[in-house]
């Protein structure tokens, strides 16, 4: 009972916040008589979204694809980098400078060069988004791998665990918590990365390209429609990470194993 009540409240508060912001916005445009080309009203934006719905949805799909593929590629590459760096000192010594340098170069600068090398297609966008995720993932996963208690390693070794078994059962699960911190932080930044990539090579028809076009035509309602869709994209990406975290780290969200998981002991006798 009170659980459902609490859940309801958790949904109600953000909705109230959203309504307040939109109402404040509508009121401000009306009261201060702001010209439409400077600041459209929420109704103008809603109308624009309704009118240009197919293009916006297609753009959303395009940018979402860039985000998703780039995000996965960056996360996987970062994870592999971290594991290699943890496993070997020379590898760490060689990869660390590369890693730091990759962070020191502004994304916008790489973006221009990538367009020259990879053209106007999907590839340069994926690389940009991947670069955004890559660094936080490497750093956090390295931390997770280093945080494993030496006594646990000693214990499982004394129980006859192989190197692979130690990695699979002890080191790998220890990286999940820091990994998801990194993914949550970079989910929304990745969307920004996708938009920046679209700006330098804007033939893809994503939301970033849509925004740039609307802006250059002083179409403020169009600009705001794009902003709404980008905000939505950021939220969706964040929620996807949260959902994956909930699914993959059940020990952090509950006190018992989930009934359908393979480690759940189903008791026939019922004791």
């Amino acid at each position: 009972m009170s659980d459902r009540h609490a859940l309801l409240l958790r949904l109600v508060y953000p909705l109230v916040a959203l309504i307040l912001v939109i109402a404040g916005w509508a009121l401000a445009v009306d009261v201060f008589e702001i010209p439409r080309y400077v600041m459209p009203s929420p109704m103008d934006v809603a109308n624009h979204i309704a009118d240009d719905w197919p293009a916006l949805v297609k753009g959303f799909g395009q940018t979402f694809m860039e985000f998703l593929l780039g995000f996965l590629a960056g996360a996987i590459a970062g994870f592999v980098f971290a594991v290699l760096m943890d496993a070997s000192r020379p590898v760490r010594g060689i990869l660390y400078p590369i890693l730091i340098t990759s962070q020191a170069i502004p994304i916008v600068a790489i973006s221009a060069a990538l367009t020259i090398w990879l053209g106007f297609g999907l590839a340069p966008k994926l690389v940009i988004v991947a670069l955004v995720v890559f660094f936080p993932v490497v750093v956090n996963v390295l931390d997770g791998l280093a945080s494993v208690d030496k006594d646990i390693i000693n214990l499982v070794r004394s129980m006859g665990a192989s190197r692979f078994s130690i990695f699979r059962h002890v080191k790998l699960p220890a990286t999940y918590t820091p990994l998801f911190s990194a993914l949550k932080l970079s989910a929304t930044f990745s969307v920004t990365g996708a938009v920046i990539a679209e700006w330098t090579a804007s033939t893809s028809g994503g939301i970033g390209a849509y925004l740039l076009q609307a802006n250059s035509r002083l179409n403020t309602a169009g600009t705001f429609a794009a902003i709404v869709f980008l905000a939505l994209l950021g939220l969706v990406s964040f929620l996807l990470v949260i959902a994956a975290e909930y699914w993959l780290t059940p020990w952090r969200s509950g006190s018992k194993a989930r009934r359908w998981s393979s480690s759940y002991w189903k008791d026939e006798t019922g004791g």
Partner: protein, 261 residues
């Protein structure tokens, strides 16, 4: 020495040097099958060094460790061991943690898991089989850690201050629980602690060690009959044995007042 002709666990002239320091001078010890032996002593007496050598995670500078007459010096996995830290994996259920030994070798089948469940039920964790360790109290976590050690099927169990982090009530309950487990499981236990009451209450013999260099000072028999009731703690025999151990430990440091121990 009271050990039989072939002891379960034997140390022969086991020595450990760290650079110039002699952490453990040549030490001999024989433990009978099914015996409960405690090791007490002030810090620096070499008891942790001895623990690590028996556990096989430290290769001694000299000497040999034998189990059933087999040389197991520097070989890990020959004894089951347990530390003050429970070292449970937070991402595994209590059951998976108990059968961890089998799990690590990819052999945690229905038989091993059923055995783990039986252990958990027998020793008071039956309602927590599917829980993650974070849902358990300190005492329950240590129970799970001991069951993990039992499920390894080693004859010799090495426990290093397993109850050191628990509050005194829980600790006392756990000591009684450990005795009941030991009486039922018929394993040989070497128990490291600096709590003299704990050592006397649990053990058949107490090994008293002293520092600089680390060595066995004396081995004290505890002829209190088993099963030991709580009243054993206040019996005259208990006090005599305790006083003897205190004298041995503090003999060389007159600055400390034995009465406060």
């Amino acid at each position: 020495m009271t050990a039989a002709a072939s002891p379960k666990l034997a140390l022969h002239a086991v020595t450990q040097r760290f650079g110039e320091t002699l952490a453990l001078s040549p030490t001999d010890l024989a433990v009978r099958a099914g015996e409960f032996v405690s090791v007490v002593g002030p810090s620096g007496c070499g008891k942790s060094t001895m623990f690590n050598i028996i556990a096989g995670v430290l290769q001694p500078s000299g000497g040999r460790v034998l189990i059933d007459g087999r040389d197991v010096t520097g070989r890990a996995g020959e004894v089951g061991y347990m530390l003050q830290k429970d070292l449970l994996l937070p991402w595994r259920t209590v059951l998976d943690n108990i059968v961890l030994g089998a799990l690590l070798k990819g052999k945690a089948g229905p038989k091993e898991r059923a055995e783990g469940v039986a252990l958990a039920r027998r020793y008071g964790l039956g309602d927590f089989i599917n829980h993650y360790p974070s849902a358990l109290s300190g005492g329950m976590r240590q129970r799970a850690a001991l069951m993990r050690t039992l499920a390894m099927h080693r004859d010799v169990l090495l426990l290093d201050e397993p109850f050191g982090a628990l509050d005194s009530q829980t600790r006392f309950a756990m000591q009684q629980w450990l005795l009941s487990v030991w009486e039922r499981e018929q394993r040989t236990i070497v128990f490291v602690t600096h709590d003299i009451d704990e050592a006397v209450f649990l053990s058949d013999r107490v090994v008293v060690m002293s520092p600089r260099p680390g060595r066995i000072r004396e081995i004290i028999e505890v002829p209190i009959p088993r099963p030991r009731p709580v009243s054993a703690l206040t019996s005259p025999l208990f006090s005599t044995i305790k006083q003897r151990i205190i004298d041995l430990i503090y003999e060389n440091s007159p600055a400390l007042e034995p009465a406060h121990v």
